[in-house]
Symmetry: C2
Subunit: 501 residues, 2 copies
């Protein structure tokens, strides 16, 4: 049996190397690649993905997993070997059920849809994109049918990003969140001017923005000798091994929070990958548990830490040293309030902590309705705008700032959006737990001792890599599955105070 396990690991290591090579090519594409490189890079990426997919769906892997099934059953659920066999089987079964021809069709359609989306967005004309969206939907329906489901067609799609999570569970959670948040947004909407953030909109030298971002990333524990920071139009984190986890950020000359919080956000993702146990490398376990769990880490560092009062008590002198003219005359409290200003707005990625989740809920509801045929593509603009009005009290003036703003549907990534909010909820739940286990954590934050939180997260969560699902991790760490109470309480407490509700 050990031989079979070794054979499985050998095959998975090769596939993992291919996936990591693909990630290097992707990183290069988004950071340094000259414009001339586009066409060849697309071919190189397609070839690597194709080979990795072919090797992963090889029947030999299926046979090895079958042969190892009983062996895994005799091991503790959370052992490395049992987890490897379990998680690999979960991913193999999914990959194996989808015919390669459909995989290629989806890749081709989404490449075309991406192109159409970019143009439609530039022209702010949804109707130009609609046929491509329709095609993506049709293909993803076929994809979901291949994977199979018992309750909802959205289930197998969601499962690609958030393994084990069910549509019904998300629906119930979102329903509750929406009921709590919409009134909060309406209450704050009448008091928007209570918070002044105009001083965040001055000219900030780019090199200095870079430096203060690096300082913050280092502070929370990002290891530059095992990673690096670069510029890219859309910030992202990518990992080629536990010891090479890279982040990117982007700069806005006239708005300080853009680069600063993007850097902390990505560093939060990177802390996760940098702390996965080396033993899990070159296996399917050598990655984050899911998109939602990953997002819980980036959001925790960005929002629960980076937008907290204790953080700014510590960090303010550092900020003032770099930008004396812009911040010298202000108190930590000024910055704390300014970076937490609530403002119902059109664009998801610019949204504050409260309204952000309404953007997500809207997308989740609409993509479900589309997939289940409760609305058709042509009705989407109207449905989008109606929900924007209902949840946020605003209506997009055009398609570019409305339903064309995000790339996800052009990529065919239906089921991706909810993971952002699930990450927010899980982050708050974990934060309550650490508060119980380490009394006075805020005091550590005020003193710049962020390793307390980082080490706790690493030992409880990061180290496990992809062994467990989000609910399993929630149980393991907090004794409960995913909860939203902590997140709602956090919002009400924090914003109730800021806006005197």
């Amino acid at each position: 049996m050990q031989e079979k396990l070794e054979e499985l690991k050998k095959r998975l290591a090769e596939i993992s190397d291919l996936n990591n090579a693909t990630a290097v090519l992707g990183w290069d594409q988004q950071t340094y690649m000259p414009s001339g490189g586009v066409a060849a890079r697309a071919q190189q990426l397609a070839t690597l993905s194709h080979i990795a997919h072919e090797k992963f769906t090889d029947n030999a892997i299926g046979h090895l997993l079958e042969d190892l099934h009983e062996y895994a059953g005799g091991l503790p659920y959370d052992s490395d070997d049992a987890s490897l066999i379990r998680v690999t089987k979960r991913e193999y079964d999914k990959a194996h059920r989808v015919p390669p021809a459909l995989v290629s069709e989806i890749a081709l359609a989404s490449a075309r849809a991406f192109d159409a989306w970019r143009k439609a967005k530039d022209a702010s004309k949804f109707s130009d994109f609609a046929p491509f969206l329709q095609r993506n939907l049709d293909l993803k329906r076929r994809y979901a049918e291949c994977l199979g489901y018992t309750e909802r067609i959205y289930d197998p799609l969601l499962d690609d990003y958030e393994p084990g999570m069910k549509t019904a569970q998300v629906e119930a959670i979102f329903e509750e969140v929406r009921k709590e948040i919409v009134p909060l947004v309406y209450a704050i909407s009448s008091k928007l001017n209570m918070v002044d953030n105009s001083f965040l909109c001055q000219v900030f030298d780019e090199q200095k923005q870079w430096d203060i971002g690096v300082e913050a990333a280092r502070l929370i524990g990002y290891k530059f000798e095992r990673g690096r920071l670069d510029r890219s139009p859309h910030p992202f984190t990518t990992s080629f091994s536990v010891d090479d986890v890279r982040i990117t950020t982007r700069f806005m000359q006239n708005y300080f929070p853009a680069a600063f919080f993007a850097t902390i956000h990505e560093a939060g993702h990177a802390l996760y990958n940098q702390a996965i146990r080396h033993e899990l490398e070159r296996t399917p376990l050598g990655d984050g548990a899911s998109l939602g769990v990953h997002e819980s880490q980036s959001r925790m560092w960005e929002n629960l830490v980076g937008r907290s009062r204790p953080f700014w008590k510590f960090f303010m002198p550092r900020l003032q040293a770099v930008f004396p003219k812009q911040f010298g005359h202000l108190s930590p409290e000024h910055v704390y309030r300014a970076v937490n200003r609530v403002q119902p707005s059109l664009i998801r990625v610019e949204a504050d902590e409260i309204t952000y989740n309404l953007h997500i809920i809207l997308r989740f509801e609409l993509e479900n309705a589309l997939l289940e045929g409760r609305i058709v593509v042509n009705d989407l603009p109207e449905a989008w705008n109606a929900k924007m009005q209902e949840y946020l009290g605003i209506t997009p003036p055009n398609d570019a700032e409305g339903l064309l703003q995000d790339v996800h549907w052009a990529h065919g990534s239906f089921g991706y959006f909810p993971t952002y909010s699930l990450g927010n909820f899980f982050a708050a739940q974990l934060f309550v737990q650490i508060g119980k286990e380490i009394p006075g954590i805020d005091k550590y934050f005020e003193e710049g001792e962020y390793h307390i939180l980082r080490d706790w997260l690493s030992a409880r969560l990061h180290t496990h890599g992809r062994k467990f699902t989000m609910d399993e991790l929630a149980y393991k760490i907090t004794g409960e599955p995913l909860q939203i109470r902590p997140f709602i309480a956090y919002l009400k407490n924090k914003y109730g105070e800021i806006y005197n509700l």
Copy 2:
């Protein structure tokens, strides 16, 4: 037959994508990779190479080549299809003859030897490296036996870098060159002080060095939108497609020529790859003909152009604009003479145009003697130093500046060195030819019209990619095989004038 050809091309395209992906990983390793990334990157590179090798040596490719043999015979020798089949068969036959186990053994041994070499070089102690060199030699002898040869064991090794070239041919050429150059070196050695280059050894701001290097690269026609310049410890050129050809350089704060000529040298390599016909991409023809032919291009732009009088007549005002303090008071003639100063010295990569070839001849003679058992590894230091004294009139004071200076033998790359000099000779031969075809080429150079040379090279040489060998190209372009007369005449003419011989 067309179907078989398409099948062959499809397979070769996939392998080409893998090789280009490997090149991206290599570029990243030498430019931006954090130190933590080393171990995982070695695995990723090994996996990609292994898969590419496995796919290339697949019997199916052998069968396709056999089936296509007759078809190719009916086509013109220089047609794309005949060339593709011929060159692929040449490389397939070699790759197929070497057992995969030996390939792995060589990779492992050279990785270990590289490590040992680095340490031995730091300690300047050849005896620490000797057993690893012995191991590399033994393995490369076995490798050469697998490939087979009729005359010299060095033949199949040389052929890896310079297809079609024979040891006896190089030996004859080098013998003649040595006889001409050694007296020249001795003659100049008594007049070293005739040329002052002290003004090249001032402080030069790195950003300004960068800018002037970019200006020179652009001037000779390097396209930045289809490439980019980065820093790396050892300058190199790498290509991921015809439209993504990247170069690197390195900076010495106190010596202007280091970065400047490294940038022109690498841009010269890059011009070659940027001008290969798109139709040859994703096939074994989509690369340079050989290391020697590649080097002919880099050396031509670096030395025959960049170290020429007409170049400095044109470029001097540009240099003075960037470095007024350092060069404002000097004439083009000052710089022309200074960048052509001859100085017999210990280190190959710092050598001038004349002595450089003696460094190469020495290495070629010694690696041949080692492989043929005419000397043993333990005798190498003595043999090295004796030849240095004979050819250059100097004796290395230690191993680090003697036989440990180059990485090639640690990599097991026996047969690589001569290509540097072959490139020098071929460059001079091509230069004579363009002089015949385009009268007054110097005038164009004085006016900054470098596209005349570049377009000529692209049309005559670059466009063909890897279709022809060096000798074939020499015949095709100049009507003769590789010649050394033009190179010797060039040296005697240029340095005879500078040193008043």
